[in-house]
Chain length 166, copies 2
């Protein structure tokens, strides 16, 4: 496997997907134990589903998969699990897609920037503090006090750009 798949901005084509998922689930489990949170079966399954796709996943796509193994499930089940995962930094919501992706850096707060490939629909996570700082500074300079940044960048990832332009 790649030495640290969670740290890649974009998932490489060659990365070991299974262990990448396993790492993410393990990290969430550890974090929950440390913080005294309940990592229930549903929450684990939703996180697995999101990571399995390795691409932004809609709540109703998650719901379908959840039904595959649990027989019945309703929207609130999914949204509640997502709320938990969002609050605790295990997934992010991509506002411009109304969809969810696993977080590659589930420890600690960070202002993330998402790179959304319009071709393969995969999403990379940038987490660049320079960007976050510049935005905070510029906002403050007009008297605005920042609490949250939503930054979603659309374009072509390295792989799709290469395929398109050579």
């Amino acid at each position: 496997m790649a030495s640290s798949p969670m740290a890649e901005t974009f998932p490489t084509r060659e990365h070991d997907h299974d262990s990448c998922i396993a790492d993410a689930i393990d990290a969430a489990e550890r974090a929950c134990r440390e913080r005294g949170l309940r990592f229930t079966e549903i929450r684990r399954r939703v996180l697995e589903i999101v990571w399995n796709r390795h691409a932004p996943t809609g709540a109703y796509d998650i719901l379908e998969e959840l039904r595959d193994d649990r027989g019945s499930a309703a929207p609130p089940t999914v949204y509640r699990a997502l709320d938990f995962l969002l609050e605790n930094g295990f997934v992010h919501k991509i506002e411009s897609l109304n969809a969810f992706v696993g977080c590659r850096r589930p420890d600690g707060d960070h202002a993330a920037q998402f790179l959304i490939c319009g071709k393969c629909r995969q999403v990379g996570e940038l987490d660049d503090p320079d960007i976050a700082r510049l935005i905070a500074r510029k906002a403050r300079s007009v008297g605005f006090d920042v609490s949250r940044q939503t930054i979603e960048i659309e374009g072509l990832c390295r792989y799709c750009a290469e395929a398109a332009y050579g």
Copy 2:
């Protein structure tokens, strides 16, 4: 009136709202004439409604107001008008709110950054090229080719921050 309300990042408390709307409508009308676009009654009304609120407005809020003066109207009427206004840069969509705001700089392309006040719900538009450039540069450095940026910054505007902290 304030000398140039359209250029303010945040609408000031004292700005002349009526002329601010009128300016925006006039600008759109001129732009449509120049570009050979049809600025129809519906499109004008939707733009007026969005500017009137001077805050992010949902499609169905627009629909209600539209019904007030036209008797009947269905969702596609609003969404089609919004599509037109979006395509031509007269309004922006705030993805994190599923709502629409008038654009303060309807001429030419620009990567906008939105400042969304969590208290008064007003939205400022930053249009800072430094931010856009830094993001493009950072993205390119990981091989990502940017075509569109969605930047929505939540926090407290100058007025609400003053009210809250003194």
